[in-house]
């Protein structure tokens, strides 16, 4: 019982950055742009969020910095793929390499050689006593509550129930039609990329400002790429993407616990570490067939 409660709590906690990343990437892709800059954007969000919080002593300033960095990264992706019409794969991978390099460079400048710098991270929200044995499930960071209770429903509603969401979906499906309807394809894609980028930055900051309270190299460890897979697994729906994030996180949290269980010591831990990724690949192979990609996926739009 406590094992299950713990597992559930860990699942929600570990899913949090994935939820930010997946929702952000969903916005970018629904507008027709595959943003492979996500890995780097999360990395930069993690680092600059941490650096700003360290320098100012305020976690909220850190969050603001992560958000701003993500916004800028999204705008840069827009400049490359929308304004300049560059290839989306190359632009995204270039953005990731650039942002990881920049973060590590500034990291060396600021925190040269010394020992690991720490900040006091966000505390866990204290759950009310009446929950009894279930209380640990609700002992989460505010950023987790924000993700599941505010961001997910809001992002879903914006996409479905607002003019901006309708325009975003139209631009990603048929930019010619959107253009002919008087919608600015470029503006809509920029907005989607910047909104998505801001979420990715926040997702990265979850690691440094909440989970760890410090910045270490390779802190994102491919979570950005996982989000790319989760978006496809979710078929570009917010809800399904979040379910995918929970699934990945559940297996991830399970293997962490299996490692310390008696009898599992003989299994090489690298194998267990690979487990959640294998699950994602499997889930993609099963559910990823015949998926309908957004109509304008990967296509730059130009009037003739």
């Amino acid at each position: 019982m406590t094992f299950l409660v713990d597992l559930l709590a860990a699942t929600l906690r570990n899913a949090t950055p994935l939820v930010y990343g997946t929702v952000g990437e969903t916005y970018a892709e629904r507008s027709g742009v595959l943003n492979l800059g996500i890995e780097g954007t999360m990395y930069a969000g993690a680092f600059f969020g941490f650096a700003a919080a360290y320098a100012s002593g305020s976690l909220l300033v850190g969050l603001g910095a992560a958000l701003a960095v993500g916004l800028l990264a999204g705008a840069l992706m827009g400049l490359l793929t929308v304004t300049l019409g560059a290839n989306q794969h190359v632009s995204g991978i270039g953005l990731t390499i650039g942002l990881v390099g920049l973060s590590e460079f500034v990291n060396r400048l600021l925190f040269r050689g010394g020992e690991l710098q720490r900040i006091e991270p966000f505390p866990l929200v204290e759950p009310p006593a009446f929950l009894g044995p279930l209380a640990p499930i609700f002992s989460q960071y505010a950023l987790t509550y924000l993700a599941f209770l505010v961001l997910v429903p809001l992002a879903w509603w914006i996409l479905r129930g607002t003019s901006f969401g309708l325009e975003l979906r139209a631009v990603g499906e048929n930019p010619e039609a959107a253009d002919a309807a008087g919608i600015s394809v470029a503006r809509t894609r920029y907005l989607a990329l910047m909104f998505g980028g801001a979420l990715m930055g926040l997702g990265g900051a979850v690691f440094t400002l909440a989970s760890l309270g410090s910045f270490t190299l390779d802190i994102i460890a491919g979570r950005g790429w996982v989000c790319i897979a989760l978006v496809i697994f979710g078929r570009w729906r917010i809800g399904r993407g979040v379910i995918g994030a929970l699934l990945f996180s559940a297996v991830y949290s399970l293997q962490l616990r299996l490692r310390i269980l008696p009898g599992w010591g003989d299994v090489p831990f690298e194998l267990l570490l690979a487990l959640p990724y294998l699950v994602v690949i499997l889930a993609l192979a099963i559910s990823g067939r015949n998926v309908a990609y957004p109509g304008a996926y990967l296509k730059p739009y130009r009037r003739t």
């Binding site: 607002t162 969401g165 499906e173 039609a177 309807a181 309908a292 003739t304």
Partner: protein
């Protein structure tokens, strides 16, 4: 030509008398160049309130470009646009919409996975919140007002082409457009739908709408328009009343008199059989039987026409005969060689040439004309070190000349017009002198010039002794070209008629399956 609406009838006579005040939109001296190609060459055009003004011209004449300029989708190099007499700059569709211009493009600009209501809401909602309920009511209201029936909740991608077109028209009207541009609206419609569209247009025009009707079909243009302007190779040839006769319109459009292309007298009935098909059975798309015991033969120098409503086994027959689909039973012999179940390569080697229905799927759009022309026979153009570029180019230059393809060897196929794409395909297949030609819908979507050219080529192959299987939904085409006709209904041959005894009525009865007992 009779008209349903007396309000429009006789307005052709008005054409000369109405004043400038009636002019809704005027284009003056519009020029647009794409590289060294002049798509529009100092074109003047205007449309008045309460008239249908047809823009007639062959594929590639520059009709779409002219209207894209008016709608702000393409920027002109020169020229002026005047709306209600005032000069305006139309920088984007937004400007055009604000000026009361609506367009139904050749390839619809609808977002297929969305509902009709969502498509109509696109780009015109005021607030941040999307009130789909209100939009739905507005759609229903507009639908009522203009007499155009659509279901607001339907997903656009699931509607028929005719219904999608109604959505497009409604979309333009719902934004209070005063000038409606229809770019080849009938190309995708069946005759009944065309009639329905014309009724709608007549009603709208009687209410004062100005309509630009783009087409290359003469009969339709005469049936609906008050005035006709003809574009040829980017230049305006002239504007004439809608009652001008078809011959004259065709002459203006093509630049020379046109004659129907039809077969001469049958070549020898005693010639040897080149293609023999017997007891052919095959499964269709969903594994259901699509062909039942199909048996026929075609002699040297003969065209066998296959008539039938689409979906009655024609596609499968062509696929089996070209090796793309495996037959379940039966025999196919070409010049005595058994070929049932052979691969496409073996079929080709045995002398079968295939000009399929979907020409885009048969060419690689991003490759050059030259590369596409050798795609089926790369082995002949390979040296020890790779492709022989020089010979590929020479080969292309020769075929471009021989088949009158309006393109350079290095042009990518995607930049070509439909007629030229079909010519590339024709050149690729016919240059190998196939003994048996299997061809489906060879002139679908082509203009008069290209249609005549393609038909002439097929007749030339017939005269040269090829056996041709011609599948077509165009009865006039079958009657003009075929020596003999078979009719397919539900995968069976339900009738065989010598062309001399065939007429549309008799074919229609067989095609609807009613002639089976006979």
């Amino acid at each position: 030509m009779s008209r349903a609406n007396p309000g429009v009838a006789g307005s052709t006579g008005r054409a000369g008398s109405t004043g400038r005040a009636d002019i809704a939109v005027e284009l003056q001296g519009i020029t647009k160049r794409f590289g060294d190609l002049v798509a529009n060459d100092h074109v003047d055009f205007d449309v008045r309130r309460g008239e249908v003004h047809a823009l007639l011209g062959e594929n590639g004449a520059g009709k779409t470009t002219l209207m894209r300029i008016l709608y702000g989708l393409t920027a002109p190099d020169e020229g002026e646009i005047r709306i209600d007499g005032r000069p305006v700059t139309v920088r984007s569709p937004k400007d055009a919409i604000a000026a009361g211009i609506g367009i139904v493009t050749q390839h619809f600009s609808l977002v297929r996975p969305m509902t009709v209501a969502e498509n109509l809401a696109l780009g015109r909602t005021g607030g941040f919140r999307l009130d789909l309920e209100r939009t739905r009511r507005q759609v229903a209201g507009a639908s009522e007002r203009f007499g155009i029936r659509v279901d607001p909740a339907a997903i656009v991608g699931e509607l028929s082409i005719g219904e999608q077109q109604r959505v497009e028209i409604l979309k333009a009207l719902a934004r209070d457009c005063r000038v409606l541009i229809l770019d080849e609206p009938t190309a995708v419609l069946v005759p009944q739908e065309v009639e329905a569209l014309f009724m709608t247009l007549r009603r709208l025009v009687a209410d004062g709408l100005a309509v630009v009707f783009i087409s290359h079909k003469l009969g339709e243009v005469r049936a609906i328009s008050d005035r006709v302007s003809v574009l040829r190779r980017g230049a305006m040839v002239g504007t004439v009343p809608g009652s001008t006769d078809e011959r004259e319109l065709a002459r203006m459009m093509v630049g020379r008199p046109t004659f129907g292309v039809a077969r001469s007298e049958p070549t020898g009935g005693e010639a040897e059989v080149l293609l023999r098909v017997s007891g052919l059975r095959a499964a269709g798309r969903h594994g259901l039987p699509a062909l039942h015991d199909v048996t026929f033969e075609i002699r040297r120098g003969e065209i066998l026409g296959v008539a039938g409503v689409s979906g009655n086994g024609q596609t499968e027959l062509v696929e089996v005969l070209s090796g793309m689909r495996h037959p379940a039973a039966g025999s196919i012999t070409v010049d005595g060689t058994e070929l049932a179940g052979a691969t496409p390569t073996a079929m080709m080697a045995a002398g079968v040439g295939r000009i399929p229905e979907d020409r885009h799927a048969s060419l690689v759009a991003d490759l050059s004309v030259a590369d596409n022309l050798v795609l089926e026979r790369l082995d002949d153009f390979t040296t020890r070190t790779g492709l022989d570029e020089r010979r590929i180019r020479e080969h292309a230059t020769m075929l471009i000349e021989r088949f009158d393809i309006r393109a350079r060897p290095e042009d990518r196929v995607t930049t070509l017009s439909g007629g030229n794409i079909q010519k590339v395909l024709l050149a690729r297949v016919l240059s190998r002198q196939p003994k048996v030609i299997v061809v489906a819908q060879p002139t679908r979507g082509l203009d008069i010039g290209a249609t005549e050219y393609v038909r002439g080529e097929l007749l030339a192959r017939r005269a040269a002794g090829a056996a041709v299987l011609l599948v077509s939904e165009d009865l006039d085409e079958l009657l003009a070209l075929a020596d003999r006709l078979i009719v397919l209904y539900e995968g069976r041959i339900v009738g065989e008629i010598p062309a001399a005894d065939a007429d549309p009525e008799r074919l229609g009865i067989l095609m609807s399956g009613r002639g089976r007992a006979a």
